[in-house]
């Protein structure tokens, strides 16, 4: 039964991967990567228990964190150009050649 669940998770990971390859907009790819990461977390938990890996829960928790970080990073840097130019328009222009801090 556990192996059935693990195979189901693997299949859904493959489907999310197809969306990551196809995805017309970047948001689709972002979404697919997040879904892939979530499926990963649960795959590590399930397969780790089934195959007897030791300390698999630590890796699952770590990967949950890592998934969150990379989703946030993709979101933050995605429309960086657009939003940054909006924000920096309201500030005075900085000196380009500043010395290293």
């Amino acid at each position: 039964m556990i192996l059935v669940a693990a195979l189901a998770i693997l299949l859904s990971m493959a489907l999310a991967l197809i969306r990551a390859f196809m995805g017309p907009t970047a948001y689709d790819r972002m979404l697919a990567t997040n879904a892939f990461g979530t499926n990963t977390v649960v795959l590590i938990a399930v397969a780790g228990y089934a195959l007897g890996w030791n300390s698999f829960v630590d890796v699952a928790l770590l990967y949950a964190m890592v998934n969150f970080v990379s989703t946030l990073a993709i979101m933050r840097f995605f429309d960086q150009g657009k939003s940054e130019s909006e924000i920096s328009k309201t500030e005075e222009p900085q000196e380009r050649c500043s010395s290293k801090s």
């Binding site: 493959a14 991967l17 990551a20 390859f21 970047a26 790819r29 972002m30 990567t33 892939f36 990461g37 990963t40 795959l43 590590i44 780790g48 195959l51 890996w53 030791n54 300390s55 698999f56 630590d58 890796v59 928790l61 770590l62 990967y63 964190m65 890592v66 998934n67 969150f68 970080v69 990379s70 946030l72 990073a73 993709i74 979101m75 933050r76 840097f77 995605f78 429309d79 960086q80 150009g81 939003s83 940054e84 924000i87 920096s88 500030e91 900085q94 380009r96 500043s98 290293k100 801090s101």
Partner: protein
């Protein structure tokens, strides 16, 4: 493994670098699963934390500078391909001289591994043998690795510097306006820091240790930066203190070795540190992992600060 190959091939062919970065994240995860399957949990831990977390963030930071789409290649790739093939063939040829992979009669399995496996519980007494090999039996190598990490941070500092970006107003980022995110991240960061401390000190018993803990620590600060902005995170941890922390980590490690020398034993022989060799080993491993963790954390954050302070030079329209 098939997933790995497919992902690598698609990553090479794809021209949108943004998508490539995400594919690299997936690739790194698949490698981590492979390592778990080979029963190397510590390595899988580090690979997952570094490859899918920090590398993705740093590569995305670089993408801001280089532009999103790959330019057409103008040179014929035939010559580099030839060089790579020749080098690969030479390496493979050199490998035929070594014992077969997993050969039980290889020297490493008949001399080194039994010595570690049999003597580590009595000499060092730390359940996680990876940590005992890393920090005690091969302490010199780990000192070298930590110095390499420190040197990398130093190189980034020399090349890029940690200038403040133009975005000096605190709390202003593209996703900082999302209130739900701010509230949730504020609560989560404390848990992530706690988890990092757990990983650091639990490295003796399960998967973990200094390298992994340093990376998770840095991840917490990176999350704070992503949501709240550079100015806020530089107020929390100024760049000057970061440089000092990196040096502190190395000094702790090397200082432990020197302390052992001053007490009459060879460099990095931890038995000198306490009344009893086994306790000395425990204390030594603790201090050394602490040094490694501090160094890794500060170097990763240094690189992140350096990249986030850069902006693409404005091209006049």
């Amino acid at each position: 493994m098939a997933f790995l190959v497919i992902t690598a091939l698609v990553a090479i062919k794809e021209h949108d670098l943004f998508a490539v970065v995400m594919l690299f994240g997936i690739y790194s995860f698949l490698t981590a699963v492979l390592f778990m399957d080979l029963d190397a949990v510590d390595v899988a831990f580090t690979e997952a934390a570094v490859g899918a977390g920090i590398s993705t963030v740093l590569m995305l930071g670089t993408l801001r500078l280089t532009g999103r789409f790959e330019k057409k290649q103008r040179r014929n790739p035939a010559l580099p391909l030839l060089v790579v093939c020749v080098t690969g063939a030479a390496l493979l040829y050199g490998m035929t001289d070594m014992p077969a992979f997993g050969d039980p009669m290889a020297p490493i399995h008949t001399h080194m591994a039994p010595r570690f496996i049999q003597d580590s519980p009595t000499e060092i007494g730390v359940p996680n043998m990876v940590t005992s090999v890393l920090a005690s039996y091969r302490g010199y190598d780990t000192l070298g690795e930590t110095m390499v990490i420190f040197t990398a941070g130093l190189a980034v500092l020399l090349l890029l510097g940690m200038r403040e970006g133009q975005n000096r107003r605190p709390g202003r980022t593209a996703i900082g306006d999302v209130l739900v995110l701010r509230v949730v991240v504020k609560v989560l960061i404390s848990f992530i820091l706690l988890y990092a401390l757990y990983v650091q000190f639990h490295g003796d018993y399960g998967a973990g240790g200094g390298f992994q803990a340093g990376v998770v620590f840095a991840t917490a600060f990176v999350i704070y930066d992503l949501v709240f902005g550079e100015a806020d995170v530089r107020r929390v941890l100024p760049s000057l203190w970061l440089s000092r922390l990196a040096v502190l980590g190395i000094l702790i490690y090397a200082g432990t070795g020197v302390a052992c020398m001053l007490l009459g034993h060879p460099f990095l022989d931890y038995s000198a540190l306490a009344h009893d060799p086994v306790h000395g080993q425990h204390l030594g491993i603790l201090l050394v992992e602490l040094g490694v963790g501090i160094t890794v954390f500060s170097v990763i954050l240094t690189i992140f600060y350096a990249f986030s302070g850069l902006r693409r030079p404005q091209v006049s329209a």
